[in-house]
């Protein structure tokens, strides 16, 4: 195994040289007459001289960049070739486990140095990276076009400038992180896997925020396109970035799998296909790993009759034919108002004739080559299936280059809705057109997909645009523009397009985590200031699964509970046995709360609750999968209405819950003492905490404002916090009342609907809470409560395709299963393993985490003239 620096320090100066465009000579001038009658544009080649020199004419054998050195590794050798002309560009190795091990170790070793630099120190490094990248802009652009096949115009005008912009923007975040994200810390070592469609740009999107936040990175570029990442690593090394802060291990999916499985990672960020995203979700389940996934899309491109059709046609060109359509957010589904459908199609057909497809290094080409023959075959397969489905497949008459991986711009019309070209991501220059009659139908068609990455709306009617934009389930909505990106605006998906955002303030959160339990209390007083005269001095809440941090709050850990249960002298008719009263209290039956009704469990079984001494306490319904199904369906029916309600209304309702809970505080405290093994003072504190969290989230309901991002275009880019949808909440045993009220309030405040699984061991306070919620104007189905054994109900909830998010405040083996099961619809999951949230004393970072998890950011871009 040879290790050593094979970097290009000696050739550094070369990169600044300009290509040798031959000056016109007399001989060349003779050709003017021929040119007059010949091809109108003629060739306009971009020189590849310096790129080929860096590649040593294609003979260079690349290693991995690990700990500041280029290391050969032992993996199998593979070639990377230019898809336009099959030219050999270089040879590199697929990283194996030992390479990944060493890279992660190098990253871990670099962390202390990197973090000790502080925000300003890291800002200097990121700034330096952005300037270096800028100074070698053309080399990166040419290399990218050679390796990926994309037109030089795009790599030169889009990919590279945006990559520079990301590093510079995040140099700013590095500077500001300490002040802007108090109570947060970097994750640690982050594994990042990027795709082949925008190799350098995706590197920038991933690496810049990770480094800005203080993480160290192991990056795995795509097997088709490793070159710009390797060049970047070389330049980063030359720029003095501390060794090990950025490691690049080249390779294929096998290398990526090794990386994802590595136990040394604290975070994984992936951009790529939804199927691989799902595998990564499963592979990281049960580990304390922050995961962000930016996956596929089938983004709608909606043209209303009030659109500037000429502008919309250019939008299509930039939307689906940019980068040969190899864009995750490509506007590949054209939805057009039936009244202008024919005209738009005619205009599109004419426009397609003018799209030039050819060698990516010709400066006058609109489209270059598809990344690899395999991808060409895939695209052709889709076109065959479209034709078989009866669709009309239109391509321009122009000739393509004879050799190389080229596919012309393509328009499919008349494809049936179930056709694969309509529903699946093609990742090629294929536009599929459908028509609609009304804006409502346009919205329905736009949302009729598993994905939710982006959408483009075309209309000159501002009120129509503003009516439709919030109704589209997508992370980015471009109004009268398309494929606009910027470092200051978060980019990322809804639904199966993944989760997490890249860019902007929202993107920084993907690389930071709240410091568990260390924050200041958010509002009011902490645990100590409880009910008049009371203090927490007794036995705290506990449960089998409660982490030490949680149990520690009350003072006594698990296993010391014997004799701690105190029965209250008064019994207010609560739904436990109430045997203390003479003659016996009137028996009450706890029920599930589904769709606004109290319901018996589908299975007809109850669970007997016993106190610590083993005495019978009460019975609660034993919910099953059908109860969960019904609850999710009820939530689904309530979802749109609640999300559309005003923040003011949601806030009013949360205050009203508090109003209705407060008079029953003593009774609930008694119930907590009796049924949840709590000292009365602690029980009172628990009720008090529940009231406080209602006030906290009622307050936040109309204050978690969106933002207007300062993107460098003439436009408004506004980031809206939107509801995620249906949130499944699994409550822990530590806080049987506040631990239900708190997360439900947090979810409701932001317009989510809830299916809550109360504490398995101490469910009675939650069942009592139902009666309070029921009288508080909460619309039916907005909150649903299903008691039972978590192992029987949680898997159904986690696997349900209409649940968008799962919060788990237990963090046990069942949580890991739930994370695995969530891969089906890629629902967002949040398992609070670190005990960030203490329901008895909500810290500021915990509140922020709840607000952040309860919303997804939609960025809406509205350009304006002049």
């Amino acid at each position: 195994m040879s290790e050593g620096k094979t970097g290009a320090a000696g050739r550094r100066g070369d990169r600044t040289g300009r290509g040798s465009a031959a000056p016109a000579t007399g001989a060349a001038a003779i050709r003017v007459r021929d040119a007059l009658s010949g091809s109108a544009y003629g060739p306009a080649p971009e020189s590849d001289e310096w790129a080929m020199e860096w590649l040593q004419g294609g003979e260079r054998v690349f290693g991995h960049w690990i700990g500041g050195l280029e290391r050969a590794g032992r993996g199998a050798l593979h070639e990377t070739r230019c898809p336009a002309d099959d030219r050999l560009l270089g040879t590199f190795r697929y990283g194996d486990r030992s390479d990944v091990d060493r890279a992660v170790a190098a990253a871990a070793a670099a962390l202390p140095v990197w973090q000790a630099l502080g925000g300003h120190g890291r800002a200097r490094h990121l700034y330096r990276l952005s300037r270096r990248l800028h100074r070698h802009a053309r080399l990166f652009a040419v290399l990218e076009s050679l390796d990926n096949g994309k037109a030089i115009r795009e790599s030169r005008d889009l990919d590279v400038p945006l990559a520079v912009r990301h590093f510079q923007h995040h140099a700013g975040w590095a500077e500001l992180v300490p002040g802007e994200f108090p109570g947060h810390e970097p994750l640690g070592v982050v594994g990042q896997i990027i795709p082949w469609n925008f190799p350098l740009l995706m590197l920038a999107w991933k690496v810049a925020p990770a480094l800005a936040a203080g993480n160290a990175v192991v990056l795995k570029p795509a097997e088709y396109t490793p070159l710009t990442a390797l060049l970047f690593a070389e330049i980063a090394h030359e720029s003095g970035l501390p060794p090990g802060v950025l490691n690049v291990v080249a390779g294929d999916g096998g290398t990526g799998a090794e990386l994802v499985r590595h136990p040394g990672l604290a975070g994984v960020a992936f951009t790529g296909s939804t199927s691989v995203g799902r595998e990564i979700r499963r592979a990281t389940a049960g580990r304390a790993i922050h995961l962000s996934l930016e996956l596929g899309g089938k983004s709608p491109f909606v043209v209303f009759e009030s659109a500037d059709l000429d502008a919309a046609v250019e939008g299509v060109v930039d939307g689906v034919w940019l980068n040969q359509g190899e864009v995750c957010c490509a506007g590949s589904r054209l939805l057009v108002h039936e009244s202008v459908e024919e005209r738009l199609h005619e205009m599109l057909r004419a426009r397609m004739e003018r799209i030039r497809v050819g060698h990516p290094l010709d400066k006058g080409m609109d489209m270059g080559a598809i990344v690899a023959e395999r991808q060409v075959e895939r695209i052709r397969g889709y076109l065959r299936s479209a034709a078989e489905d009866g669709a009309r497949v239109l391509q321009p008459a122009r000739d393509l280059p004879v050799n190389g991986c080229f596919v012309p711009p393509t328009l499919c019309t008349g494809a049936p809705p179930a056709s694969r070209v309509v529903t699946e991501e093609i990742f090629g220059p294929v536009l599929v057109s459908q028509s609609f009659r009304t804006p409502a139908e346009a919205v329905a068609l736009a949302n009729d997909t598993r994905y939710g990455l982006a959408a483009s709306l075309w209309t000159e009617d501002l009120s129509l645009a503003m009516e439709v934009a919030p109704r589209i389930r997508a992370g980015t909505v471009w109004i009268n523009c398309t494929n606009r990106f910027d470092a200051a605006a978060g980019f990322g998906g809804y639904r199966e397009s993944g989760f997490g955002r890249e860019g902007g303030r929202e993107g920084m959160r993907e690389y930071l985590r709240p410091v568990g339990g260390a924050g200041e209390a958010e509002t009011g007083a902490g645990t100590g200031a409880v009910h008049a005269g009371g203090t927490v001095d007794g036995v705290g809440p506990r449960g089998e699964e409660a982490g030490e941090a949680l149990a520690g709050e009350g003072g006594v850990g698990p296993g010391s509970s014997s004799g701690s249960v105190r029965f209250a002298s008064e019994n207010g008719g609560a739904i436990d046995g109430g045997a203390a009263e003479a003659g016996g209290a009137i028996d009450r039956t706890a029920k599930l709360w589904i769709g606004g009704s109290q319901r018996r469990p589908d299975g007809g079984y109850s669970l007997a609750l016993r106190d610590a001494a083993g005495a019978a306490l009460a019975e609660v319904p034993r919910g099953n999968r059908k109860d969960v199904r019904d609850a999710v369906e009820a939530a689904g029916r309530a979802r749109a209405g609640w999300a559309a309600s005003t923040a003011y209304l949601r806030s009013q309702i949360l205050y009203f819950v508090a109003e209705n809970l407060a008079p029953r505080a003593e009774e609930l405290a008694a119930l907590l003492s009796r049924s949840a093994e709590m000292e009365r003072a602690a029980a009172r504190a628990e009720v008090e905490a529940a009231l406080r969290s209602l006030f906290t989230f009622a307050a936040w309901a109309d204050k978690n404002d969106g933002r207007v991002h300062a993107t460098p275009f003439r436009n408004v880019t506004f980031a809206m916090n939107e509801a995620v949808g249906t949130v499944g909440i699994r409550c822990g045993n530590a806080s049987p009342l506040a631990g239900v009220v708190g997360p439900v309030a947090a979810a409701l405040a932001q317009g989510n609907v809830v299916v809550a699984l109360p504490s398995e061991r101490f469910p009675l306070p939650a069942m009592e809470l139902v009666q309070i919620l029921e009288t508080s104007d909460i619309p039916p189905g907005t909150v649903n409560v299903v008691s039972g054994l978590h192992r029987e109900v949680l898997p159904t909830l986690a696997a349900h395709d209409d649940v968008e998010q799962l919060w788990d405040f237990v963090g046990d083996a069942l949580s890991a299963d739930a994370e695995r099961l969530s891969a089906g619809n890629l629902k967002r999951t949040w398992v609070d393993r670190e005990g960030v949230v203490d329901w008895r004393a909500l810290s500021r970072p915990a509140t922020e985490a709840l607000l952040a998890h309860g919303a997804q950011v939609k960025n809406v871009w509205v350009p304006y003239g002049v």
Partner: protein, 333 residues
């Protein structure tokens, strides 16, 4: 679609061989009502268009020769004199230094411009100076540049210029009609101009810098084409804002739509503020991309320019010699 022989070297004036004149169509307000122009998208298209195409080497030289052939060599100053106009006409006949023409391989054929554009008072002088060249004289008319003289005088002005030998008439519209949305009145005005022109070709100057919005530019162009304009032209050259690419884009799209609606080809004239070879190339790219190569002929596209030629000459010399040139090396127009 066929590309006609490049007229940079062709002997005939294109207008003579060109597509038929625009007969006009009845006023159709429905076509105006559906006009939508998104300003930001137009700006974006105009800005990126010129980065999507690159014309280099011999092709660039050919395109610049084409630009010369598309040029209305213009002088519209208050101090124009017969001597000044004769010199300009001489330049119009032989726009390039002989050495450059030879080096470009043009042989005996000579590049020449599309027309010479002057005020009415100098039409006769120009006509005499251009005799035998086949280069037509264009006259600005109808109270140029404001277009606010009495309507009858405006019509009379057209007729006098035609009588004096002008083959092309560049009229200005009453911008107020466009700004007030009086489209039918504008239609009537232009239709009257068209009638007064007789056989002379009608170029309608929209004064786009004074129309306020791109949607208004498109509406005005559509009205002009419905009324029978052979060309729609951006500017008088006297407005504060002259020919910009977003305006050119908007006009090109209006022309494209008119062809789809009526089958008639209408020309585009970019005038005012185009002074460099680079800008000329940008306009040619715009025309080729938005309208097609057919519009790169003098019967369908013109530059109204006075200083542009000098810069093109320099660029052509650079192409020939490989050295960057100086203005004083080329004959003054």
């Amino acid at each position: 679609m066929t590309v006609t022989a490049p007229s940079a070297t062709g002997p005939a004036h294109a207008a003579a061989t060109a597509s038929p004149r625009n007969p006009g169509v009845p006023f159709d307000p429905a076509r105006l009502r559906r006009i939508r122009v998104n300003r930001a998208a137009a700006d974006q298209r105009a800005a990126t268009l010129v980065r999507r195409r690159s014309v280099k080497g011999a092709w660039q030289a050919a395109w610049l020769l084409r630009a010369v052939a598309l040029m209305d060599l213009t002088t519209l100053a208050g101090d124009d004199t017969p001597g000044r106009v004769r010199r300009l006409c001489g330049k119009a006949r032989r726009p390039l230094r002989p050495g450059i023409s030879r080096a470009l391989g043009l042989g005996g054929e000579r590049a020449r411009v599309a027309a010479v554009c002057v005020h009415h008072e100098l039409v006769a002088v120009a006509r005499e100076a251009l005799a035998g060249s086949g280069i037509p004289v264009a006259a600005v008319s109808t109270g140029f540049p404001a277009g606010l003289s009495p309507f009858a005088l405006r019509l009379a002005e057209i007729r006098e210029s035609v009588a004096a030998g002008a083959g092309e008439i560049d009229v200005v519209i009453t911008r107020g009609l466009a700004l007030r949305g009086e489209w039918e009145a504008l239609y009537d005005e232009i239709a009257a101009f068209r009638e007064a022109c007789g056989e002379a070709h009608l170029k309608v100057i929209l004064g786009t810098g004074e129309l306020g919005t791109l949607a208004n530019v498109r509406r005005a162009a559509t009205v002009a084409m419905m009324a029978g304009a052979d060309f729609v032209k951006t500017s008088t050259g006297k407005e504060r804002v002259n020919a910009t690419l977003p305006v050119g884009l908007t006009l090109a799209r209006a022309i494209r739509e008119h062809r789809l609606e009526t089958g008639v080809h209408v020309g585009l004239k970019a005038a005012g503020g185009i002074g460099t070879a680079k800008e000329a190339l940008a306009w040619l790219i715009l025309v080729r991309e938005e309208l097609g190569p057919r519009w790169m002929e003098p019967d369908l596209f013109r530059f109204g320019a006075s200083s542009l030629l000098a810069d093109i000459e320099r660029q052509l010399e650079h192409h020939v010699t490989g050295r960057y040139s100086a203005f004083h090396r080329h004959p003054l127009g």
